[in-house]
Amino acid sequence: MKQLTWKDLPIGGIIIEPGNARRNITGTWRTERPVIDQDACIRCRICWMYCPEPAILELDKPYVTKSGKKYDVTYEVDYDHCKGCGICAHECPVKAIKMVSEVTG
């Protein structure tokens, strides 16, 4: 990261870009990554609700499961920010999320 000098900063040192911490790629901390099985997922929203970051994205992306069930939304992981805590996998009522090792898996 380029070191800022006082000349680069707004008066008072305030931060004027909301939520710019998203440039911290906290996904690099992860030792395990959550992988969502889109066919098993019942779109209940629980993983999305409990993710602390948030790093579960609720996307307006239609999906048809292998058994022919149609959904309007898809839940995907924002791997740039997911820290791999495993809360989503632990709370998923149908065990549609697996934690996979970043080292061996």
Binding site: P18, G19, N24, P52, E53, G84, C85, I87, A89
Partner: protein, 315 residues
């Protein structure tokens, strides 16, 4: 409490907190703050006390906040918020600023039970229309797990150690809700990160009441490194805190007390899960003997006795 969100499907989509904050993986307070802001929406000014949430969200030149945010010091978030609220009031009155913005304090247990208690009490006494939210991870986590007035009896921390003489914290957890209710403010409630719908409804209700005076919400928010458990257990442990009766969900609303599900069924002890289910998942309680656990159970029973008397008087 008014019901703004009935089911999980009603919860709002927009985010005003994160990602990219430097909280540990599985941070309970992070879940709390995410839902505080989602429920409050964009018209809010946050005043944050020093602590994990402040330190991890403000690593300059970055901010994890998408709403205006002010940090002053550890002990004076309620005083700073009183100033912000008064300034907004005057600017509105003079027609200089046309804003509906509400002021919300977010402070830890150290910042509330102990070091900020005087500024909180002053703010409540003066009647500022500010929502004060205490996120309770039951110790001074940001400086490495020191006991606070919010740390429970028998919990290990670095300043309530476990050895041949001591078995964790000697004293009991302070009843902060009773202290706050003693100021006779319009609204005070407990909430828990395992119940985000309840939390979101309480935040909206509290913000609506700010025209009358202050509101307070006490949110339980487990901390994996401080409570000594694996990260994925944060929500499960939080849920057990309420299911075992350790952390009941209730509201003080204009002089009336109301218990929320599932706690409204817990006056009947047989409806509460055994406290061991909560304790055994946490390393900070790993040293407890059967006798110690009995003592904790007795304390919880006494607490429910007290709550039952409150419910009888103010229900």
């Amino acid at each position: 409490m008014k019901v703004y969100f009935r089911t999980i499907k009603d919860l709002p989509v927009d985010e005003y907190y994160g990602p990219g904050q430097l909280t540990c993986a599985g941070c309970g307070p992070s879940i709390a703050v995410r839902w505080l802001l989602k429920a409050a929406g964009p018209d809010v000014i946050v005043v944050n006390a020093t602590g994990c949430i402040e330190v991890t969200t403000t690593s300059y030149p970055y901010t994890a906040w998408s709403v205006p945010y002010l940090h002053v010091a550890f002990e004076n978030s309620a005083a700073a918020a009183s100033g912000v609220e008064s300034a907004l009031r005057v600017l509105r009155r003079k027609g200089i600023l046309d804003t509906k913005a509400k002021v919300m304090v977010i402070a830890g247990d150290g910042g509330t039970y102990d070091i900020g208690l005087q500024s909180l009490s002053g703010m409540l006494e003066r009647g500022h229309g500010v929502l004060y939210v205490l996120y309770d991870n039951e110790a001074y986590m940001n400086t490495g797990i020191q006991r606070s007035g919010g740390t429970p009896h028998f919990a290990w921390t670095t300043t309530s150690p476990v050895g041949s003489k001591l078995k964790g914290k000697v004293q009991r957890k302070k009843d902060i809700m009773s202290i706050v209710i003693g100021h006779h403010i319009p609204y005070a409630a407990t909430a828990n990160i395992a119940y985000p719908i309840d939390l979101a409804n309480k935040v909206k209700t509290a913000l609506d009441y700010l025209v009358e005076g202050p509101a307070f919400i006490h949110v339980l928010a487990p901390c994996p490194p401080g409570w000594r458990y694996p990260e994925e257990m944060t929500v499960e442990i939080a849920r057990l805190a309420t299911e075992t009766g350790y952390f009941p969900l209730y509201e003080w609303d204009h002089g009336r007390i109301r218990f929320n599900p599932p706690s409204n069924a817990h006056f009947d002890k047989s409806r509460r899960k055994p406290i061991i289910e909560y304790l055994k998942r946490q390393g900070r309680f790993a040293h407890l003997t059967e006798e110690d656990i009995k003592e904790i159970e007795k304390e919880i029973d006494e607490y429910w006795d007290y709550l039952a008397r409150l419910a009888k008087a103010f229900g």
